[in-house]
C-alpha cells in the first residue's frame, strides 16, 4: 500500500503527474474520520438542532411548538435588535481599526533599533495570556474609581465621572479594554510578518533617500499584506462576537447602550426564556458574520494582489 501513496502538492496546484494517483491511501481516511465524526456530533448536529429550534417557541425547557418563520418575521420589527446591531458594528469597526493601527505601530517600533527588545516583546504579549473576564473586572475598577479620582486631582472635570456611567461614552471603555487585550496577539503576528521582509530592501530604499513614511508605504505595508488581511478578518470576526468584555465591564449598560448581539442573545435567550426567538437572531447573525468576512476577504485580497 505504501507504494501508491499519493504525492500531494507541494504548494498550490499539484503538478499534472500527481493527478494520476487517483487512489487515496486508506490511512488518510482513518486519520480524519474520527475527527469528522466527533466534529459532526459536537458541532454540526448542535448547529442543526439550534437552527431547528429557531423555528419553534422553545423556552429552553418544557414544551414547545413549531412556529414556522414567525420568529424571523418578528426579528425585523424589534428595535432592540437593531440597537444591538448598531452598537456591535460601531464597536467592532472602531476596535478593528484601532487594534490594527496600534499593533502595527508597536510591532514596527519593536522591530526598530531599540534596546530591550525581548523584554518589551514579552511585556506586550502579557494581555493575551490573561482572562478577559478578570481583566475586565480590573478595568471596571480603574474606570469607575481610579480614573475619576485622578481626573479630580488634575482638575479635568470632563473625566471626573466614570466613562462607564454614561450611555454615550460607555462603549469607549469597552473599546479600550478590547484593544488593550487584542493588540497583544496582533503585535506578535505583525512582528512575524515584519521579520519576513529582507533588510536589503530597506537599505536600498535608504540609499535612494526614501523617507521613513515612504519606506512604510512602499515596502513594509505591501510586504506584510497577508498578515494585515488575516489580522483584519480575524479581529473583525472576534469583535463582532464580543461578549466577555461587556459582561465584565458594563453588563450591557448603562441602560442597553452597550448591549452587543451576543449579549442580547445570551440574555434574552437563556435568562429571558426566549430561546427560540433569540436563536433565530443568532442564525441571522451567523449569516451576517459570514457575509462580512467574505466581503472583507475579497476586498483585502484584491488590494493585496494589486501590489
Amino acid at each position: 500500500m505504501s507504494t501508491d501513496v499519493s504525492r500531494p502538492a507541494r504548494r498550490g496546484t499539484p503538478p499534472p503527474a500527481m493527478r494520476q494517483d487517483r487512489r487515496v491511501p486508506r490511512v488518510f481516511y482513518l486519520m480524519v474520520l474520527p475527527a469528522v465524526a466527533l466534529f459532526a456530533v459536537f458541532h454540526t448536529l448542535p448547529l442543526l438542532t439550534g437552527m431547528f429550534f429557531s423555528l419553534t417557541n422553545y423556552a429552553g425547557y418544557g414544551e414547545w411548538s413549531f412556529v414556522g418563520l414567525q420568529n424571523y418575521v418578528n426579528l425585523f420589527g424589534d428595535d432592540r435588535i437593531y440597537n444591538a446591531y448598531g452598537f456591535t458594528f460601531l464597536f467592532a469597526i472602531v476596535s478593528t481599526i484601532a487594534v490594527n493601527i496600534i499593533a502595527l505601530a508597536v510591532a514596527i517600533a519593536l522591530n526598530g533599533r531599540i534596546r530591550f527588545k525581548t523584554g518589551f516583546r514579552g511585556i506586550f504579549f502579557i494581555p493575551n495570556i490573561l482572562s478577559i473576564l478578570i481583566v475586565g473586572y480590573v478595568f471596571n475598577y480603574v474606570f469607575s474609581n481610579s480614573v475619576p479620582a485622578i481626573a479630580e486631582a488634575l482638575g479635568i472635570t470632563s473625566l471626573t465621572t466614570s466613562i462607564l456611567a454614561s450611555p454615550d461614552t460607555a462603549w469607549i471603555g469597552v473599546v479600550i479594554l478590547s484593544v488593550w487585550q487584542a493588540a497583544a496577539f496582533n503585535i506578535i503576528i505583525y512582528l512575524a510578518g515584519l521579520q519576513t521582509i529582507p533588510t536589503e530592501l530597506y537599505e536600498a530604499a535608504a540609499l535612494d533617500g526614501a523617507t521613513p513614511w515612504k519606506q512604510f508605504t512602499s515596502i513594509t505595508f505591501p510586504m506584510i499584506g497577508a498578515f494585515f488581511t488575516i489580522n483584519m478578518v480575524l479581529s473583525l470576526k472576534n469583535f463582532l462576537q464580543v461578549f466577555d468584555q461587556i459582561i465584565s465591564l458594563t453588563a450591557g449598560g448603562p441602560g442597553t447602550s452597550t448591549e452587543s448581539i451576543s449579549v442580547l442573545i445570551y440574555r434574552g435567550g437563556f435568562q429571558g426564556g426566549e430561546y427560540g426567538y433569540q436563536t433565530a437572531n443568532a442564525v441571522i447573525y451567523l449569516f451576517v458574520i459570514i457575509a462580512i468576512s467574505f466581503i472583507q476577504l475579497r476586498i483585502l485580497q484584491r488590494r493585496e494582489a494589486s501590489f
Binding site: Y61, G62, N74, R80, P167, G255, T256, G273
Partner: protein, 428 residues
C-alpha cells in the same frame, strides 16, 4: 515541546484512562445505603447558613446526605440543569418571574400535601402562587424566607436633624429637603447597578397603579397603545415620583454600585437608602454598629393606603421527577420547621413567612414588621413582567437623566413586542 513521536498515543490513553478512573471513583462514593440529595442553592451569601442547616439535618437523618450546589449565575445554571434532565432533588430559587415561568413549565413537584403549607401566611402564599404553577391548585414552592422593600434610614441622622419618620409623600419630600439644605445626602443612590432602581419602581408603581393593572394589560395582548391601560396612561405619577426621589441622590451616583451603596449608607454618608431588608446584612457587614431604621414608601398623602412590598426571597421546591421524593420532602419539612426558618430570618434580616413562632425582633425591621404582620403587603410588580423585558436597564437610563415619557413609551413598546412574539403552547 517536541514530543517523542512514538509514545504519543500512549499519553492519550493514560489521560483518558486516568480521567475515567477518577469519574468512576467519584461515582462509587455514593453507592451505599445513604441517599444523596442534590440541593441547588442560589444565594451565594447564604452558603454558610445552609451548610449549618444541612449539618443539623444530617445529624438527625443519618440515612440522607445533602450536597449543597451553589453556582455562579444561578439563572443560567438552573436552565442548563433542566436541559440536561438533571433537575436537582431540592432547590431554592428567588420567588420572581423566572421562578413562575419554570413552575408553569411543570419543573417542580406539587407540595400541596405537605403540612407546612398550612402554616404559611396566606398573603405570602398568595404572592408565590400568583407567580405561576403547573396547574391550578398545585403548590410548587413553599416560601422559606420573605423580604420587604422600603426605605432604610439612619436613626442617628434623623435624630440629629430633628426629622420625624415620614408617613406621607409630602413629609418624605420635606424630610429629603431638610437633609439637602443641611448638606446631608438625602438618598444614597447606586446607578452603576441598574437593578438597584427596581425597588423604588415596585414600591411606587405597585402602590399607585390601578387595580388589576397587569391582568388588564395582559388581556390587551400586543396592542397596548390602543388599550384601556398602559404604562403611558397609568404610570406617569409613579415615575415622576421616582425621578423626584432620585434627584435627591449624591453626586457621582452613576459610578457607584450596590456594594458601595451599602458601605456608604452604613458609614452614615446619607440619611436614607432606597433598599429593603435584604441589604441589611451587607450594611452591617461594613459597619456592625450602623443604627438602621426602616419605613414603607409613603406613596401618597393618605397613610392608610401605605403598603409594604414583600417578595419571597427564598422559595423551596422539589424537582418533579426526583428519584428520592420521600427524602426530599423530609428535607423540605426540616427546612420549613419554625426554628430553622426563624434562625435563618434572624441571620439574614428576613421575615419569617410562617404564622407560628415568627416574631420579627430585628430593630432595623421594626418600621416594616407591623405591615407584614397585618398582611398589608403586595408582591413585587416586576415579577409580573416577562423576563425578557430589560426593566433594570430602562430604569437605569431613566434615573441617569432619561425622560419619563421615553421610559413609559419604551415599556409599552417592549411589552407589545414581547406579547406579539410570545406564541403560547396549546395546553393539553
Amino acid at each position: 515541546m517536541k514530543l517523542p513521536p512514538g509514545r504519543a498515543p500512549r499519553a492519550v490513553r493514560y489521560l483518558v484512562g486516568g480521567t475515567a478512573l477518577a469519574l468512576v471513583l467519584s461515582a462509587c462514593a455514593t453507592q451505599d445505603d445513604v441517599v444523596t440529595l442534590n440541593f441547588f442553592q442560589f444565594k451565594p451569601e447564604a452558603v454558610a447558613n445552609f451548610n449549618g442547616i444541612i449539618d443539623r439535618f444530617e445529624a438527625e437523618n443519618p440515612d440522607i446526605r445533602v450536597v449543597q450546589n451553589h453556582v455562579p449565575d444561578a439563572d443560567t445554571a438552573i436552565r442548563t440543569l433542566l436541559v440536561k434532565d438533571k433537575t436537582p432533588d431540592v432547590l431554592t430559587l428567588n420567588g420572581n418571574g423566572r421562578y413562575g415561568e419554570l413552575a408553569e413549565a411543570c419543573v417542580f413537584a406539587d407540595l400541596s400535601d405537605l403540612t407546612v403549607v398550612e402554616q404559611v401566611r396566606p398573603a405570602v402564599g398568595d404572592i408565590i402562587g400568583e407567580l405561576g404553577s403547573c396547574s391550578t391548585g398545585e403548590v410548587n414552592a413553599v416560601p422559606f424566607s420573605s423580604n420587604a422593600s422600603g426605605i432604610l434610614y439612619n436613626r442617628g441622622l434623623f435624630a440629629q436633624y430633628g426629622v420625624e419618620v415620614p408617613t406621607t409623600w409630602d413629609e418624605l419630600l420635606a424630610a429629603a429637603q431638610t437633609f439637602e439644605d443641611a448638606g446631608v445626602t438625602p438618598f444614597y443612590t447606586t446607578l452603576k447597578d441598574g437593578w438597584t432602581v427596581s425597588p423604588a419602581f415596585v414600591n411606587l408603581g405597585g402602590a399607585l397603579q390601578p387595580e388589576d393593572f397587569f391582568d388588564r394589560l395582559r388581556a390587551e395582548g400586543s396592542d397596548v397603545a390602543a388599550g384601556e391601560v398602559s404604562f403611558s396612561k397609568d404610570y406617569p405619577e409613579a415615575m415622576e415620583k421616582l425621578t423626584t426621589l432620585y434627584s435627591f441622590g449624591q453626586d457621582g451616583a452613576a459610578s457607584r454600585d450596590y456594594n458601595a451603596g451599602n458601605a456608604a449608607f452604613g458609614a452614615g454618608e446619607s440619611a436614607m437608602y432606597m433598599q429593603g431588608s435584604y441589604a441589611i446584612p451587607a450594611i452591617r457587614a461594613s459597619n456592625p454598629d450602623a443604627n438602621i431604621g426602616s419605613f414603607p414608601y409613603p406613596a401618597t398623602n393618605s397613610p392608610e393606603d401605605t403598603v409594604v412590598v414583600s417578595g419571597v426571597d427564598v422559595a423551596v421546591s422539589v424537582g418533579r421527577d426526583t428519584e428520592h421524593p420521600e427524602e426530599a420532602r423530609r428535607f423540605v419539612e426540616f427546612l420549613m420547621s419554625p426554628e430553622v426558618v426563624q434562625q435563618y430570618a434572624q441571620e439574614q434580616s428576613a421575615f419569617s413567612p410562617l404564622t407560628t413562632g415568627a416574631e420579627t425582633t430585628d430593630p432595623a425591621l421594626a418600621g416594616l414588621a407591623p405591615y407584614f404582620d397585618d398582611n398589608r403587603i403586595i408582591g413585587f410588580i416586576d415579577h409580573q413582567l416577562p423576563a425578557s423585558l430589560p426593566l433594570p436597564q430602562y430604569l437605569q437610563e431613566l434615573a441617569l437623566g432619561g425622560s419619563v415619557e421615553g421610559f413609559l413609551s419604551v415599556m409599552d413598546r417592549e411589552w407589545s413586542k414581547i406579547a406579539a412574539r410570545t406564541i403560547p403552547n396549546e395546553k393539553d
